[in-house]
Amino acid sequence: MRVELTVNGQRRSDDVEPRLLLVHYLREVCGLRAANVGCDTTSCGACTVLMKGADEGGTGKGVGGGGTSVKSCTVLAVQANGQEVTTAEGLAAGDDLHPVQAAFRQEHGLQCGFCTPGMVMATVGLLSENPHPTEAEVREGLEGNFCRCTGYHNIVRAVLAAAEAGAGTEVDA
């Protein structure tokens, strides 16, 4: 069946199986492979992207500014019909890293990189809802994103640095 949505600012119209997971739609149909599949049980968050609809939350406003973080492995592509999806590839403006991406680099918040796009998108979502989190709030805010390499230490530093740099107060396009 047909789905029409906007991905990283580009409008798309594609024919998909109802059971096609959004993460596979992004990876295989859109060719955006930054989001990864890391588990089978909606646990690890490597697939995290931002999603925004015309009508969010029932109050008419999005809970976050540029979309809320969702685990794209547990969203059907067809459920994203009419929505705007932003992936890690859609964050940077040309050659300039988004403040969250820049902070991850500065603080060595990535090693193998597999969890990173999901971690970055979860961070963008977190900071849009809580622009100045405490360390405890950062750790809780990332409870849905697993990392095996970093021990989370530098990821937390990266999020706090991004917050310090005002990343959460930017309105994302």
Partner: protein, 269 residues
Amino acid sequence: MIPAPFEYVAAQSTAHALDLLDSLGDEAKLLAGGHSLLPMMKLRLAAPSALIDIGQLAELRGIRADGDELVIGAATPHAVVASSELVRSDAPLLAHSAAQVGDPQIRHRGTIGGSLAHADPAADLPMAVLALGGSVDLLSRNGTRNVVADDFFTGFFETSLDEGELIVAVRVPRRPGQGWGYEKFVRRANDWAIVGAAAVDGRIALANMGPVPLRARAAEQALAEGASPAEAAELAAQDTEPSEDVHADRDYRRHLARVLTRRALEQRG
């Protein structure tokens, strides 16, 4: 990892959803946030022939006051319930409970109606709604009916929803300023409760102490008769049937039920 094939229809209204439930038969299931159903389908523990998407229906979203009750649209995501000023002031236990479900991404998608319909005895919201003495508004072709939480959870992942019926709203009593307590014991942050306890207004509900969320009635009784939280909590595990798994055996679960009940009662202030 991938669900078995199914048909998908986005319902245009609740009336349309009812029509679809009728026409697609009993192998069709409703889809709101999909964060209870899709994980099961991905593991092939569920394989509905069709999904009827009600997640975007405005009539099923939103939070409003209705006299002495809060009415929460069934397709309202947990994150919205958790951050709602109205819920935080009038039924803070519910807002807190919604904030405990899974992780932020899950809370952006999972809905209160979906969680109650899924009826996982270890989940947060069934326990919370039971503790609050809430109820669900169900809609079918025969009209609406209201079922109190005490009667709604009928068995292990089973509810009193009939064929062709859907939850349209969840109701909880408004109790601004009333003390409440909530304890969710986990090994790791985004886990389901190994055991959970929620206490408000003389009612105590337990998660993961049986096939359904349970009232700790013996403890409630003792409380009503003037027992202290510690004394009442000693009875928390009575009439429970906790299961055993990698996290906890029966003895330990019973022990946790007592400890968490005491703590939840003490939190009420």
